[in-house]
Assembly symmetry: C2
Homo-oligomer: 644 residues x 2
């Protein structure tokens, strides 16, 4: 076979492999539609994608038999390392080869279809560089910002303190388990303490999808929902930085068996550095996009505007990666900033365009990852399933999650006015679906025995938690009616005096300076900045801001004086209705800012991150919509109606 | 440096390189906006992208100095070929390496920043597998189908006969040039006859963008416009299949100097096989999508619908590539089929979503390719600029294009009722901008001396034709007023009796069977199929079709009886207005189906394929809008008004 023919053959094979996934996704979409159409609600779309992937994995493993490719040439050379690039001197001409990975010749040939299975395996970096960014960006872009910012303190506590706690508790339990396995001689290779911590970090990332699935059944308060969703989104970011910090400073050689305090401190330093760096980059790109869209008339050309928005958001990722920070984290904060500022500057057209684009990318990427996950259970060739390790891992993640939620909730409740009820704590405890992020982190490196065992176990954890969430939702529908988190006593004192002083400080700063600087809304800078900054303020304030100034004074400013933070951040929520069109949900909607679909004949749904929630009916006895009791049909233009 | 650190370093470098292009595109977008805002019209956006790319190329080449990466390990081995994959045995462990390409050690080191420049170079397959498909799909998806189908005969003549003629004429002229160069000793390597033909094929692909730029200035008839646009879109498909057929059957070894008749015939066979195979795949996927969207209620969930639409369209590409056909060609025909059938089944939401998505992808991909082109002029390390060859090439493409347009136009005019005026022939002659496809085909393989010389020359041709088009447009504005193609005498007899019998046959079949089968529109199959097929017909006809049946009989069916094909294909054109929203342009718009933007304050534009055209005003003396004279304000519901 000539070189061209072989390259062509390999390209065909690649196309065929990718085609398998496209067909899988197409099938998933059609099945989702069928389920939605027939109103089966017991299976989430990601679960479906996983099951289809599983079937294809079984078929590839046991059903298809391809001849081994024997055309590889084996070079034996006296190198003591495997460089990423080698130059091969073929009769005077130099060819460059790049490392693809280690081939386990001794083991690989035991597995049937090894060649075939190796070919449907993607480079793990694909997940980090192509599939995760749109998912994470979309999560940030569709955060309900009003409720998110109001609960920022609690969310940050769960995300930082909670995830780190969970990581260490899980890691310690796993270390105990590993030591036990070694004693009884069940461990087939090295497994160090840092490996345990790494495992703790990767299984501490929970997926926001679950939150929606559960919120569907248990009619919880919007604030608590924001808490849960915000925590899920942020702990992904914490987990990825945490795991890379652990890897970066794991002691080498003989030191690996001992606990190294200075390495731990270094890891902490790396963690803080990488996290804040990524945060800064994400926020900076978001702010830059806001400025560009504010000070140019780009909104006259929505195609250019959307293209710019897309490119700037993507550049955050690349910039962070190029500087050695974490792109995925940067993208998350970029998404939040874009939604908070830039979104307000976009033309109506671009608002819906950008929403739809990222919604689609998120949907495709998420389903792709889950079907790949299903496939990997059978196609991955170096699985190490250790029953005791797996049992230990399930115990560890249970304890780790408990150590995250319960003590923190207790501490937070001391300060919170809107208490986190114990029922809701249980929901948080069991809603920890491990999804795309956990999978991507565990498949990133499967070179050592420890990592392979971790990967196999993680895969089972993801499968189990997805299944658990499904049955949880099912149970919720049938029997958990009296077990549901009713808002009595919990949200009674509720949203009115919730906001703590750091939040009020942040709000005032954001409202008076950042929003007017970055968008066309908010009070004119001329009125908020001191007189000496007059010329700059005039230069930075757009004409729209003056026009909006009057009503802003009536509405927003009085709200903050009254400390009624429930109506702060009255910008549009960027949720979309069942047809994907953004539904304006401004302060007019009062406390319940959930977008409703009035034109969907099937059911009344809230669409959020590609997942749909059925909203309670308008029945006045319904706890969510009727509480706090809305004022009896006030005129829309009455600014006083907001003061409940 | 450890392996991990090196891999990380390389990833950072990759991110930084991609970031360069993102920043380039961002700059291009902002400049395009500035130009549009200030109403500078002399520079097309692709030209801008190219100029920015050029600057960055100069900076990278002469401005930045990076240390050489000396960590590569050179293996010397006694192989007589360079396999795509090698296994390296490093002290008992096997590592897989894949071929990245040949490194010219002797030449490469002469160029400053060789390492740096090599790194900003993309794998040429990126163009074929990632960037070209959305561009070509968008071209197919936004073809004005009514006018396209009416001129199908002429379009196919230009695309097939014309492109093949152009390829051979150019190839022969180039062969003469090469023989001359060899005689005077100016040729530094082998250059065979098949290389000349290959060069002829790649420079025969013209870019549809130009057509729009010129149409902007010269107010031509919509039919002739469709002719020009259709030819540009299809000759890309012909050129890509033609070039691969030439490569596939080029004689090896000593036979390369001789003309081989049987190889030529084989090439022709490959050409026909690959082309029809790709066409069939594209059409089949389009039809399948139409059926799925027709027979499911997927339209209730626009996100699922758009995702399905996107995945099915993408799968065409992969399917064709996996089967050894040409993905880009399949994608083109898939786009046309999707627009003709599936588009009618989509929900309003998905119509705009899919349009916007592909418009954005097209915009980004096109500008990316053009800025890469600019960059490549300085960053490519194996340029071979041969002045005589370049002069010969310009002469050859001029003659090749002339041999395509003039004789064919003469022959076509014998049969056409709507004659192609000589003015318009000149426009076609000079509107042959060589763009993305020519570039992608020439950069695909730059291994030999001949290919390198071709690539350098092609790059200059692209630059020159882009520049030519710009100046052409400029001149058009200032002086060419009397030279413009006025429609007198040419479109007088015009569109009424244009359609030839193959078209009428196709139209009847499509209208009576295909459209009703694949969409909800058209007459019910129960009325068009023979009685024996009753049960199948009832099963395949949707309830909407019966509802539409009445008015269809009034309008469409009579039109065909009257042989007034101007109002056939009265489905919506999928062009978008300046805000990217699809503008319905049904038969109500009469003969001039160009979408107008009424709400754009800047100017009245036609947006098509990301390019904007300024439309003539509504001045009744304007030849485009006033001809054929519209009936004086008929009531909209009057079916008779169509019979001009």
């Amino acid at each position: 076979m000539s070189k061209e023919t072989k390259a062509e053959e390999s390209h065909r094979q690649d196309s065929a492999n990718l085609l398998i996934f496209i067909i899988l996704l197409t099938l998933t979409i059609l099945t989702i539609w069928l389920f939605k159409h027939r109103r089966f609600r017991f299976l989430h779309e990601t679960g479906l994608a996983m099951i289809y992937g599983l079937f294809v994995g079984i078929i590839l493993r046991f059903g298809v038999h391809l001849p081994q490719d024997l055309n590889d040439i084996t070079l034996t050379c006296a190198m003591n390392s495997s460089p990423t690039t080698i130059l091969v001197n073929v009769s005077g001409r130099f060819y460059e080869y790049s490392l693809k990975g280690e081939v386990r010749d001794s083991k690989g040939h035991d597995v049937p279809n090894a060649e075939m299975l190796r070919k449907v395996t993607f480079d793990p970096e694909v997940f980090f560089n192509i599939l995760l960014p749109p998912i994470i960006f979309h999560a940030g872009y569709s955060l309900k910002r009003r409720h998110f910012f109001r609960n920022l303190g609690s969310i940050l506590s769960y995300a930082f303190v909670g995830t780190v706690t969970s990581c260490f508790v899980t890691g310690l339990v796993m270390y105990g388990c590993v030591v036990f396995l070694k004693v009884i001689g069940q461990l087939g290779g090295d497994f160090f303490f840092t490996d345990c911590l790494f495992f703790g970090a990767i299984v501490s990332a929970t997926d926001p999808v679950t939150v929606l699935a559960i919120f569907n059944e248990l009619k919880v308060d919007v604030d608590l929902y924001a808490l849960l969703f915000g925590e899920s989104v942020l702990n992904d970011a914490v987990a990825i930085v945490l795991s890379s910090s652990i890897v970066a400073y794991q002691p080498e050689g003989d030191n690996r068996h001992t606990f190294d305090g200075s390495a731990l401190l270094k890891s902490l330093g790396v963690f803080l550095g990488v996290f804040s760096g990524s945060f800064a980059m994400g926020a900076a790109t978001g702010v830059m996009t806001a400025l560009v869209t504010k000070f140019t008339k780009l909104r006259d050309f929505p195609l250019l505007e959307t293209a710019l928005f897309f490119l700037m958001s993507w550049s955050t990722f690349l910039l962070a990666e190029a500087c050695g920070f974490t792109g995925v984290v940067a993208v998350l904060f970029c998404g939040i900033t874009q939604a908070h500022y830039t979104y307000n500057n976009l033309s109506a057209e671009s608002k819906s365009r950008s929403k739809q684009l990222f919604e689609l990318l998120d949907f495709l990427a998420e389903n792709f990852i889950f079907s790949y996950m299903g496939l990997t259970l059978f196609s991955f060739q170096h699985h190490v399933f250790n029953p005791l390790f797996i049992i230990g891992a399930f115990l560890a993640i249970f304890l780790g999650r408990a150590a995250n939620i319960y003590p923190l909730s207790f501490l937070l409740n001391l300060g919170r006015k809107n208490k986190i009820a114990s029922n809701f704590q249980h929901v948080m405890m069991f809603s920890g679906l491990r999804g795309a992020m956990t999978f991507a982190l565990s498949i990133r490196d499967t070179a050592t025995y420890a990592r392979q065992m971790m990967f196999s176990t993680t895969l089972l954890i993801v499968f189990f938690t997805v299944w658990q969430i499904m049955s949880f939702s099912l149970v919720g529908v049938d029997t958990d009616q009296d077990n549901s988190v009713t808002p009595d006593g919990m949200t009674q004192k509720s949203t009115k005096h919730e906001s703590a002083w750091p939040f009020r400080l942040w709000y005032t700063f954001d409202h008076n300076y950042l929003k007017p600087f970055l968008t066309h809304s908010g009070p004119p800078l001329t009125s908020t900045l001191p007189a000496c900054c007059g010329p700059i303020a005039r230069c930075l304030t757009s004409s729209q801001a003056y026009e909006n100034a009057g009503q802003l004074h009536d509405e927003d400013t009085e709200l903050i004086l009254n400390d009624d933070s429930s109506l702060m951040y009255s910008d549009m929520t960027v949720s979309t209705d069942a047809h994907g069109m953004p539904t304006p949900s401004t302060s007019q909607a009062g406390l319940c800012s959930l977008a409703r679909t009035s034109d969907d004949p099937l059911d009344r749904e809230l669409v959020f991150g590609g997942t749909r929630l059925v909203l309670p009916t308008d029945d006045p006895s319904d706890p969510l919509t009727s509480f706090p009791p809305p004022p009896p049909s006030p005129p829309l233009s009455d600014p006083l109606r907001h003061r409940v």
